[in-house]
């Protein structure tokens, strides 16, 4: 089998090239896989960082790009002005077959727009989705993953029936490939579990999803089911997903703050926290989902992984691993097949 090649946009993350390049360097030392990373960006800056970290040079390639999109730039304007930026250069490497999958920790809007300008949408996909994993109490799949997938979380604010159905198919394929769940449980997020609850698009999607194979459609799920983790994949429109995801981030922030207050307080507290390792750690793990790699953007003929802007080297390493896994698991083909099956069942 040919080596998997990941095109990594090395620029535009919150802390610059440092953690991004370090993550790729660390991955190159890992002997359990055969992934090659194409580091795209300011070659000088990338080389400088590489000199600071042990790495295997034969697994890393540096591709120079003269510019990049900053975190606070307007996506459309920036991409119009910088056709040779690291993001678009990396995307073209994937489009032209020089690499298999794209990873970026840059400006989310620019990543989605850049991908939509470079890649084609799969047949049956009207709009793409940004998916995100969120921590849950219940474990998922044979690997007992402590998180579930939610999509869309912001790429498509308002969704019609077709979009929701496509998101379910795409989310299920992702869950199958990444979490090894053979028949993922999929739920539609609504304001009640009964089939008639929700927007007209949700009610209609409910009917269509009953007839698709390849995953187990459990029907509507509610807000309660998000932290519980009742299903492996939650489908919702981007407006709701965005609010829910940011809220989970807020809850995580609160838990960490409380833990920090406790830590700072006194020796007694530290002692007590040490003894309590279980409970607090469980809350922290539940909320530290950055360890699980980035957020996939699904619906294009190539996969994109959007890593968090604040990713540290470990998060980048995980995002690269996940990206390679989507290639090896033929995720895009699985999505394509799932969508074709929906087409057939709709006829």
């Amino acid at each position: 089998m040919a080596r998997t090649r990941v095109a990594l946009d090395a620029m535009g993350a919150d802390q610059g090239v440092g953690p991004v390049v370090q993550g790729a360097a660390e991955l190159s030392l890992d002997d359990r896989h055969e992934t090659e990373v194409l580091l795209v960006g300011n070659a000088q800056a990338i080389d400088r960082t590489l000199r600071e970290h042990r790495h295997r040079r034969d697994r890393l390639q540096v591709v120079d790009a003269p510019s990049f999109v900053g975190m606070d730039e307007k996506p459309k304007l920036a991409l119009d002005e910088k056709p040779a930026c690291s993001l678009l250069t990396a995307a073209r490497l994937v489009r032209d077959g020089e690499a298999d999958v794209l990873v970026s920790a840059g400006n989310t809007g620019a990543v989605i727009l850049g991908a939509s300008r470079t890649f084609a949408r799969l047949p049956g996909v009207r709009r793409v989705a940004l998916a995100a994993v969120h921590p849950t109490v219940q474990a998922h799949g044979p690997k007992n993953d402590p998180f579930a997938l939610m999509l869309d979380v912001g790429a498509t604010l308002h969704c019609g029936t077709d979009d929701l159905v496509a998101f379910a198919v795409m989310g299920a394929a992702y869950s199958r490939v990444i979490s090894d769940i053979r028949c993922p449980r999929v739920g539609l997020l609504s304001n009640g579990s009964e089939p008639h609850k929700g927007t007209p698009a949700i009610v209609e999607a409910h009917g269509r999803l009953r007839n698709i194979r390849g995953f187990e459609f459990v029907g509507n799920v509610e807000g309660l089911d998000i932290p519980r983790g009742t299903v492996d994949v939650i489908v919702c429109e981007g407006f709701v997903g965005n609010i829910v995801l940011k809220m989970l981030e807020g809850v995580s922030e609160v838990a960490k703050e409380l833990a920090k207050i406790a830590y700072g307080r006194s020796l007694r507290y530290k002692l007590a926290l040490g003894m309590l390792s279980g409970g607090i750690k469980q809350i922290k793990n539940l909320t530290d989902w950055k360890q699980y790699g980035g957020a996939p953007i699904v619906g294009f003929d190539h996969l994109v992984i959007k890593a968090h802007g604040r990713s540290n080297a470990r998060a980048i390493r995980n995002a690269l691993k996940v990206a390679a896994k989507t290639v090896e698991g033929r995720l895009v083909d699985q999505v394509r097949e799932g969508l074709a099956q929906d087409e057939r069942s709709a006829r």
Copy 2:
């Protein structure tokens, strides 16, 4: 000043009349106020429960009603079939001036529908809102309330601009009366803080809310701001509010479960938890928002407080206190004035 009279639907809660009547009995012993409670429901069952608990009879009245709406009944069907049920009887007492405010721990849909059949909507209110308090890290107002108000959380799934504006006015009035916040901070829940982010209704409401006095409109808030408590009042459509609220309930459930696991585990754990009283208690307080009374239904010419179906006596007592406070603070008049002011500024 005349005594405040609360009509309490004593039936239809998850655990029957017991905790509901007990809550009213407890309140009657509290000398810091002059509230009279009209207990509406099966007089025999109510009297039986009253005999079990100390109470002051001169502050309680029993009003017999031959039927009630069960928790799992379909609201419309049940109200059609039972015009003399405890809920409608209690609502009519309020409408006819025999009582000042309605409290029920029964079927939420039936309470909203029953109120809309008995009361009139205030001028300028197209649709009513169910508001709910949720726990936040930041404290609010002069009493340092550890919770904020969110509306709508389920009465009106989809909202137009007028609805969102009216909800902001109503929420601010509630926050002023109940939390004594002179100039409440109000935010519109959206997928980004910029004024152009969100649905067309949100963007338009944003423009209108800038011109209304009586509260401080801070603009859009995001999911992160919900647990943080950046504002005193969060305005959103019912579909989103319902999901957010249930999710918070789920998170609370998780925290409690983790605490319980920790408690059950070993002496070492119990010891450690005792030492840690601060942190864990803070998490539990943050999530145990049932102590703060019920959820107000605003927009009618009379106020309704919907207590949680699982309310214990303390929660009922708090809901009754909150209800009395809305009467003494002239909440309905304040809402009416706020809406009239919006009318004037819109002209």
